[in-house]
């Protein structure tokens, strides 16, 4: 029930925004976040963007995964 879906902000007007979720567009509320720009990624839950998705942090985690996968002592 706490599932949140990553979505890209396509349009915004005040606290209302249109996001794209896997090819589907829907209106959500940006009431819970300040200064979201078109093109940013957010996590959507129950019709609200609950937090931003940080690309920089995502890439850092992926880099950590690569290091673990490449670690020589793992067999």
């Amino acid at each position: 029930m706490c599932l949140g879906v990553p979505a890209k902000v396509m349009e915004r007007s005040g606290d209302a925004a249109v996001v794209e979720l896997g090819g589907v567009r829907r209106e959500i509320s940006l009431m819970l976040l300040d200064d979201v720009s078109v093109g940013e990624w957010v996590i959507v839950h129950a019709g609200f963007a609950i937090e931003r998705l940080s690309e920089g942090a995502a890439l850092q985690t992926l880099e950590l995964f690569r290091e673990i996968a490449d670690a020589p002592d793992v067999h």
Partner: protein
């Protein structure tokens, strides 16, 4: 950002490396880790993580499915609001089959009760605005992830003067429940895998009290398979070091402080209260009731229909499942008198219930 990044968090080769790392760190003494959140429970079952770690890590499922811990008295109150007060009920879909004392919303809907499934609490406000001659009651069930959305709907209704909208609140907070579970000697949790989106709202720092007071490491992890495996790996390393820190694997969404704006909205609309959890009992300070300044939007007070909590004993062992004391197959009803098509207990109703996940994906 590429949308395909989701695939990167599901890479099988990295999963294999993480499993090897967890097994190496765990050694031959299995550790007991509780995944608190129902969304984690489903992901763990669907990806087959439990058998992959068998002998190294015992994953115990926690109480983190809001549908499962909503007491039957709440369903009774919702049905009473519809039948006796003529309210139109708006609900998230997974509440409909939850058994009350003697009926469910689904059964009542089949007999004519007006129950509408909505995606967002704001849809319920729109429903009320579009039906001014009806009272619309939103069944506000959820944890901290959903609390801001419910609060946002109440504030929106107040701002727009939608006076025929109200909420039957059943909002619960996770750290208080973790504190109770951590203190229970029968459960013996060595580490908490903390919820992804609850933590996006409250922040990873919210688990500091549990980690320091109970000496149990806490790691916030995302819901993708590699997130979960890395979170477990971080916990196993802490357990082997004898550490009890709060760590965050899900840095791409959750921060230490959480979403302050959402927290402020929740603090404006709700007030902490003691509340009953189905199968667990009353946990002090673990509920959110609607604050006095918004009492016109509180269905319990508006209609004088209280949510009663009783801890009646039945053969159903959902309570022990929710506390991680037993696994679902140890319940005498599991797979026999209690199946997803005809659930007896709430853990079998919700798709995120531990029993439903075990039934669907297998117990091993």
């Amino acid at each position: 950002m590429r949308l395909t990044y989701i695939d990167d968090f599901r890479d099988p080769a990295t999963a294999k490396a993480l499993v090897a790392r967890i097994r190496e760190d765990a050694g031959d003494r299995p550790v007991r880790i509780m995944e608190v959140c129902g969304t984690h429970t489903v992901a763990i079952a669907r990806c087959g993580i439990r058998p992959l770690l068998s002998g190294a890590v015992t994953m115990v499922s926690g109480p983190g499915c809001p549908v499962c811990v909503t007491p039957d008295g709440y369903i009774d109150a919702a049905i009473a609001l519809g039948k006796e007060r003529g309210a139109l009920l708006a609900s998230f879909g997974d509440m409909l089959r939850v058994p009350g004392t003697s009926s469910s919303l689904e059964r009542e809907k089949g007999e004519g009760l007006d129950v509408r499934v909505v995606y967002s609490p704001l849809d319920a406000v729109a429903l009320a605005a579009g039906s001014p001659d009806r009272e619309v009651v939103f069944l506000g069930v959820g944890f901290e992830t959903t609390a801001p959305a419910i609060a946002g709907a109440i504030r929106t209704a107040a701002q727009r003067g939608v006076a025929n909208f109200s909420v039957l609140s059943s909002v619960r907070t996770i750290p208080e429940a973790m504190g109770i579970l951590a203190a229970d000697p029968d459960i013996r949790i060595q580490g908490f895998l903390c919820p992804a989106h609850v933590s996006a709202i409250i922040g990873a720092d919210a688990y500091r009290a549990v980690a320091s007071e109970r000496r149990i490491p806490c790691v916030v992890a995302g819901f993708e398979p590699l997130d979960i495996l890395l979170g477990i790996s971080m916990l196993v390393r802490q357990i082997r070091e004898g550490a009890a820190r709060v760590e965050n694997e899900y840095t791409r969404v959750a921060t230490g402080a959480g979403n302050r704006k959402a927290q402020e909205l929740v603090a404006e609309v709700f007030t902490p209260c003691d509340t009953g959890w189905r199968g667990i009992g009353v946990i002090p300070g673990s509920g959110l009731r609607i604050a006095d300044r918004y009492d016109a939007y509180d269905a319990e007070r508006k209609f004088g229909v209280p949510v009663l909590f009783s801890s009646e004993k039945t053969a159903c062992r959902c309570g022990d499942v929710l506390k991680g004391k037993i696994v679902p197959p140890e319940c005498p009803l599991f797979g026999k008198a209690c199946v997803p098509e005809e659930p007896y207990g709430p853990c079998m109703v919700s798709s995120e219930g531990t029993c439903a996940a075990y039934y669907k994906y297998g117990a091993s």
